[in-house]
């Protein structure tokens, strides 16, 4: 089996419109959470979100393209363009034919769908926009990337709620590792700020009226975010041979199902996913220095995740650095796995651990070093990125320094 390198990164989210801004925000502990602007939040029990501020689609796309691709797919395409440019890929016909594109999306073009429903149900219109279907489909990101960049290989979309893009990256990683392809673009995107979607999240009673404070005793829930991230994966040997910059090695992928409850997480499911990721990477638990936690900031996630990390790492858990970057870029649902994988890679490559911001008070049930409020310089050998979805579908990625 081949070793797999990450050679390109593309990110757009509340804390940065490209990978450099994103990495600088992680290091500075800059929080991208603020008042929601894309929908009228006055009738909601929460008013804050992590939006891509001052986003102008016209800077990236032709007007006719904007007509047919929803904001969520635009984010996927922007991240893919950046990642591919960053990796300095020298395209050949053969490479175009085998390159894989795997994206994750949880709710897809929900904003477009919401508009259509508003038109017919509320405004009593007799028709919805004819591009509602192609804009809404969850695979729109993967489809547009393939067209935009001229990629003809295996391309598809994974939808496993908040684990979507971690599953996407994991599958692409395995394709490259097995020799099925020499190049893959993998990640995901989301843009959930429609009124209907916000109402649905409000009804779940998991969104904070304030901000996201993962692992902090006074945490009050998650904050929704939007954005996209894409990684370029290729065989390490090939990357070295062509003189490509290698951000990190992706070394392991572990999956599991809680088989427990549609929304309540279990400890055992995440434990098995983390163990499988370590096993897949062929590393001992003690070799891990950092975990980018799922860390949503809900009471139940942060407690069960802490228990799961303790179960997997034993005494080493107290030496681990664990942080939730959702405290800065929000919970981006189907994009979360990819944005957090990108954060983990930036940390390994940059020699620092991003903080858990907005942290105020220790919680004895979350007794890990959660790197409160300020980033820390650290040489990370190996790191995990945790993603745990509603429905109990878990995906954990392992990355190592090289």
């Amino acid at each position: 089996m081949r070793r797999v390198a990450v050679t390109g990164l593309g990110v757009i989210c509340a804390t940065g419109k490209n990978r450099c801004e994103f990495a600088a925000s992680l290091r500075a502990g800059r929080c991208g959470i603020g008042p929601i602007t894309q929908a009228d939040a006055s009738g909601l029990r929460f008013g804050n979100g992590a939006e891509v501020s001052e986003y102008d689609a016209c800077q990236y796309f032709e007007p006719k393209q904007i007509d047919v691709i929803d904001r969520f797919a635009q984010f996927a395409a922007i991240a893919a363009r950046e990642a591919v440019a960053d990796a300095c890929i020298r395209w050949t016909d053969e490479l175009r034919e085998q390159c894989a594109v795997v994206t994750g999306a949880c709710i897809g073009g929900q904003t477009t769908e919401d508009q259509g429903y508003w038109d017919v149900y509320k405004l009593g219109k007799t028709r919805v926009h004819p591009m509602t279907i192609p804009r809404t489909m969850s695979n729109a990101g993967a489809s547009f990337i393939s067209m935009d960049l001229g990629i003809f290989g295996p391309s598809w979309t994974v939808s496993t709620a908040c684990s979507s893009s971690a599953h996407a990256i994991g599958q692409a990683f395995r394709m490259v590792r097995s020799g099925e392809t020499d190049l893959a673009l993998a990640g995901g995107s989301e843009a959930p700020f429609s009124f209907g979607c916000l109402k649905a999240w409000e009804a779940m009673r998991v969104v904070s009226p304030d901000t996201c404070r993962p692992f902090s005793k006074d945490r009050t829930g998650m904050i929704l975010g939007e954005g996209g991230a894409m990684l370029v994966l290729e065989p390490l040997e090939r990357a070295i041979a062509r003189g490509a910059k290698v951000y990190a090695e992706i070394t392991g992928f572990g999956m599991s199902a809680d088989a427990h409850h549609i929304t309540q997480p279990s400890v055992e499911g995440p434990v098995r996913a983390m163990r499988k990721a370590l096993q897949d990477a062929g590393i001992e638990a003690e070799a891990a220095d950092y975990i980018n936690a799922h860390g949503t900031g809900t009471d139940v996630n942060d407690v069960t995740e802490t228990a799961a990390i303790r179960a997997v790492f034993g005494e080493h858990a107290s030496r681990l650095l664990v942080s939730s970057t959702k405290s800065m870029h929000g919970h981006t649902l189907g994009a979360a796995g990819a944005i957090e994988a990108a954060a983990t890679i930036c940390a390994i490559h940059g020699g620092f651990v991003p903080p858990t911001v907005n942290y105020r008070a220790p919680d004895e049930r979350c007794d890990l070093d959660v790197v409160p409020n300020e980033s820390r310089g650290a040489a990370i050998r190996c790191a995990l990125s945790n993603s745990f979805a509603f429905g109990g579908l878990n995906a954990v990625l392992a990355f190592c320094h090289r």
Binding site: P63, K64, D67, V68, T126, R127, H129, P130, M131
Partner: protein
């Protein structure tokens, strides 16, 4: 065909397709404008909105050029006026 309907149809094509208005003439052909089937459904949607009409699928399929489009819209607009009398 009223001049008003003709202008509004051609304006709608230009607007939805982001084509300079002067490039579109009633005796032109859709092929010259590089329109595909997706563009066509977008134009039909915009025409329905503009004139508050419903264009049946069967009618829509027969349209081959701007003139037929204007004629079709004119018929539906006339029928609507007739109904409201």
């Amino acid at each position: 065909m009223s001049a008003d309907v003709t202008e509004r149809v051609l304006d709608t094509i230009a607007k939805t397709q982001r084509i300079p208005r002067e490039k579109i003439t009633i005796d032109g052909r859709f092929e010259e404008l590089g329109l595909d089937s997706m563009d066509a459904v977008n134009i039909l949607f915009a025409l329905e909105e503009e004139f508050d009409i419903t264009i049946p699928d069967e009618e829509a399929k027969k349209i081959r050029n701007p003139r037929e489009m204007v004629e079709g819209v004119q018929r539906l607009v006339d029928a609507k006026c007739e109904e409201s009398r």
